[in-house]
Amino acid sequence: MEAEKVDRRLLCVKDLRTYFYTELGIVRAVDGISFSVGYGDTLGILGESGSGKSVTALSILRLIASPPGRIESGEIFFEGQNVMSLPIAQMKKIRGNRISMIFQEPIISLNPVLKTGEQVSEAIRLHQGLSRRRAWEASIEMLRMVGIPSPEKRVNDYPHQMSGGMCQRIMIAIAISCQPGLIIADEPTTALDVTIQAQILDLLQKLTRDTGTSILLISHNIGVLAEMVQEAIVMYCGKIMEYGTIEDILEHPCHPYTEDLLRSVPRLDQQLPRLNAIPGVVPSLLDLREGCRFSDRCKKSLEKCIREEPPLIELGSNHYTRCWLHE
């Protein structure tokens, strides 16, 4: 990644390491991640559970619980500023305002004892200083923008009175209420059924296209990323295994893990006796050995892979892979 070009992008993460210090040892949840998101672009983070995707998202907003977690090292440049070096008070001005986040299970990500209107108004009141009444009116407008019918009535409802899809729309309303430059969406559709998934993704796309907001979309669902992102990174055990445009990742995957992931997706046009699961299990992050982290499950592993961890190798225009096969 060329240095100067990258520094002028909206979000630029350099060598982020977030570790968790537990009684059983150090969990290196994110262990040297670098990526960037351009203005108006959408970047996807693909990976299975435990790959470090959510920790990356929380690290950007510095929401990592500080015992036991710690952002060990790394720089995160947002709009040119290194947010790692900001005092927390400044960070709080960015949260919800310039960078906002959407979470995985919408119903439990909303406060159960507060009305929807109060929750949507909150960010507006915090960052734009509107009065309670004006913020309430603005929140009705926000609910309308995210496609909630009868927003004037819905604004007085509680989260448990609404479906998952509606709650996710509420979360999106909260996220866009202060016109952020970046929205981090951590598995926004995973807890929703498929038809609602499509609606939510469409909504996100529509809202951000009109405003030029960037999205960092985290998902384990390749289909979701294929719909929404231009570039993607594939994470495994806290490291980036492959990085490139979504077309390159889907059509010319250059890492055995990516290939296995793509092959594991069941297809309607194929008849298979068994699903193509990746054999083995994700290694414990407490007990990582030297060498490539995927080597014990990799079908194409070489002897070198077990001894020495590959660096990110450039393959072509903006396509990188962490694999000795492409040395």
Binding site: L61, F103, L114, Y158, H160
Partner: protein, 276 residues
């Protein structure tokens, strides 16, 4: 937290409880104006009279009208119960909330340890100890019961705080960039108060029965003041010949306890917004 409370069968226990409680409050507040006999006046000529038109519940061994003593005494039992729970709610919950929020500190560990030790003593024993140290009396009884219940509120508030601190909506709220203080008051506290209110209502009934027990033992409201406990004590010796004079105060206490329990129980369903 406001939910529509339906006026129908489902909430019947609540209505019954409220009717019972309101009746009790009316009798306690207005009753003393209507009963004709002085609850303290000894009248040896009319000792141990049975139920009659003149004395609706009979008289005790000193000739005092039992009904009038019960009506005048209601306020002691109720006030002691309510005030002591009020104090211990505020005291116990405040410490509990702090201990829950700052759960990793030595301060929190110390508080919890003290509360655990305090809870190991039955509340009656605490009442006895305080009565021995400070003597019986209204204020001391309130203090004893408040001290007895504070650890329960502390554990309750702390438990709730610990469980909600890591909930998803708290992380989501933090991601909006609010100050810790705002997070505390706007998001954490509203979720903590419901369980506390519910248990406060239910424990008020325990506090009332505790006051009756302490007064019965002579450690609470001192005689001749007519608390239900002292009435019980006075008439106990005559239980073989006049059982009802003991039963009346028991009924009164049971009435108070049941009304509060019914209300508190339905509160639990109403105030918990997760119950659809």
């Amino acid at each position: 937290m406001r939910r529509v409370v339906r006026f129908d069968k489902t909430n019947m226990p609540l209505w019954i409880g409220m009717v019972m409680l309101i009746t009790l409050i009316l009798v306690t507040s207005l009753g003393p104006h209507f009963v004709t006999y002085d609850p303290l006046k000894v009248n040896m000529g009319e000792r141990l009279e049975p139920v009659s038109e003149k004395h609706l519940l009979g008289t005790d061994q000193y000739g005092r009208d039992i009904l009038s003593r019960m009506v005048h005494g209601a306020k002691y039992s109720l006030i002691v119960g309510v005030v002591s729970i009020g104090i211990s709610t505020l005291l116990g919950s405040s410490f509990g909330i702090v201990a829950g929020y700052y759960s990793n500190t030595k301060f929190a560990g110390l508080i919890v340890w003290i509360a655990d030790i305090a809870m190991a003593f039955p509340t009656i024993i605490i009442g006895v100890i305080i009565a021995m140290l400070f003597g019986p009396g209204l204020e001391n009884t309130i203090m004893a019961i408040a001290v007895g219940f504070s650890p329960r509120f502390l554990r309750l508030a702390r438990g709730v705080m610990l469980s909600i601190k890591e909930e998803n909506y708290v992380v989501a709220a933090r991601s909006l960039g609010m100050t810790d203080l705002r997070l505390f008051w706007a998001h954490l506290i509203p979720n903590v108060v419901s369980p506390i209110i519910i248990m406060a209502t239910i424990w008020t009934s325990d506090a009332i029965s505790l006051e009756v027990a302490l007064s019965f033992l002579g450690l609470g409201v001192p005689p001749p003041t007519p608390s239900w406990g002292t009435i019980l004590q006075d008439n106990l010796q005559f239980i073989t010949i006049r059982p009802f004079s003991v039963i009346w105060p028991c009924i009164a206490v049971a009435w108070a306890i049941q009304s509060l329990n019914l209300i508190g129980d339905r509160f639990r369903d109403i105030l918990d917004p997760k119950m659809r």
